[in-house]
Symmetry: C2
């Protein structure tokens, strides 16, 4: 907050004239009360973020939201999703999270936790254990973490396989990024790991499209940077598993906002707040 005040001072901006302040939090947020309910990584519970920030800034209205939901909103205001009313945002990174836009508004669900595409079951026969405790979740089969874990298993089985040799020669750690590099260099297991992740992403996208007939799916997060490695497999299963041509032709796009998606999402939150209140606050 000191940084924000300093920033405003340096740029000659007056907080009292700001449209609003948008804050994204890495956890479950109650937008109505402005409270961070639970952030597993930080171990924070029930933090009244809006109250704390409002008191310090004593000016513009403050809005908080889950970071993935904010990305969805940012994409709607500033990105490729702006031409659609109903959009699914999916972050594929350490985990897999989703944000849903219905009629250009954040859709939060009955109890505020809509968009958990990371935990739809995509594998019933040979499921992998998910960090949530369930089996066969999308996150357990297609996140960056899952890709790296499967690579690690393959290399433990055979330390002389092409992928193990490649990573050793290039002095690379085992990560979704290094495996993508290996895939681009033609290492077969790496190509297959991304193809498999794409297959499971396509399964989950097909559930979402059949149920919600979205205008588009926009993908962000680290794994979206390797989209060319997994999109063909995703499209293949997706097109065979959705009804109606509007679903079959639904665009699956990587975000154009890059690492700024979250930042632009926070800005969108401020706009969103004004729009919801008729611009009067």
């Amino acid at each position: 907050l000191d940084l924000l005040s300093q920033c405003w001072n340096e740029c000659g901006l007056d907080p009292a004239k700001a449209a609003g302040v948008g804050i994204t939090v890495p956890g479950m947020a109650d937008m109505n009360s402005g409270t961070l309910l639970y952030a597993p990584f930080l171990g924070w519970r029930d933090v009244p973020v809006r109250e704390i920030v409002s008191t310090r800034l004593s000016g513009p209205p403050v809005t908080i939201a889950n970071d993935v939901n904010a990305c969805a909103l940012g994409e709607t205001y500033f990105g490729q999703a702006s031409s659609f009313d109903n959009v699914l945002w999916v972050t594929v990174s350490t985990g897999v999270g989703g944000g849903i836009i219905v009629n250009k508004q954040l859709y939060e669900g009955e109890y505020g936790i809509a968009g958990e595409i990371g935990h739809v079951t995509v594998e019933w026969e040979n499921p992998r254990r998910c960090s949530c405790g369930q089996w066969g979740c999308l996150e357990a089969h297609a996140s960056g973490t899952a890709i790296a874990e499967r690579a690690m298993e393959l290399m433990q089985q055979n330390g002389d396989a092409p992928l193990a040799r490649y990573l050793r020669e290039q002095r690379l750690p085992v990560s979704a990024a290094s495996i993508a590099q290996a895939a681009r260099s033609g290492v077969p297991e790496a190509i297959e790991l991304y193809r498999s992740a794409g297959h499971y992403l396509g399964r989950a996208f097909s559930f979402a499209a059949n149920l919600f007939n979205f205008g588009a799916v926009i993908v962000g997060g680290g794994v979206s940077l390797s989209m060319e490695l997994w999109l063909p497999a995703a499209q293949d299963v997706f097109r065979r598993s959705v009804i109606h041509e509007t679903n079959r032709n639904m665009p699956i796009l990587a975000t154009g906002l890059g690492y700024e998606a979250g930042l632009k999402g926070a800005a969108a939150l401020a706009f969103h707040y004004r729009a919801k209140n008729g611009g009067s606050e």
Copy 2:
């Protein structure tokens, strides 16, 4: 329409004073233009239903909607869904269809065909062919038709199995209803057929709950009359496949509207139309 006019006359009602007329159609409807786009069973395409009916009635506003969507709306206005903002209606009958309520409004999707839960893939390893041409759809594994078809296959394999004997002795045709009767009489294959249908329904409901965090799922159609036969299996897989307690505790209910669900849905359409237009039309 002659019937409707006659009915109004007999009841002493004045069409000009009616709040509206709601019409449900068994197919894809464009609510904005009031057109029946396509009804596979009737073979009708692009019928301007609202125009035809409006001209004849020359009075109240006319609204049309897909019959399953109308059921969802009827349940929201008159049924158990009224205490929730976000609800999934599922008809399990000859086929499987769905209607989605978001913020107590019909959610139609980007191109008007949201709610196709009958065609989410619930079986990837041993999929059955669906009438839509795809494989492993919920409709191919859990509709009344699917239950009857699987029973038929079992009886063709073994004409002396308990289910075949039961139906022969009771002089019953092979149908979802007769198989439900057999299950209630303790015939093992019949019990298993309903258990299997419930398992697949639970899988599909889990996708919907994780993605949309619905307040409730309400089930209608003939198979909802045998809910006690399939709900335990559906609940079992559902609770193991959704994240967060609000999803795990989500009620899965049979409609209380019975065969009137469609009729009440048509009435709800008329109300809905007024509400959307601020009651001014």
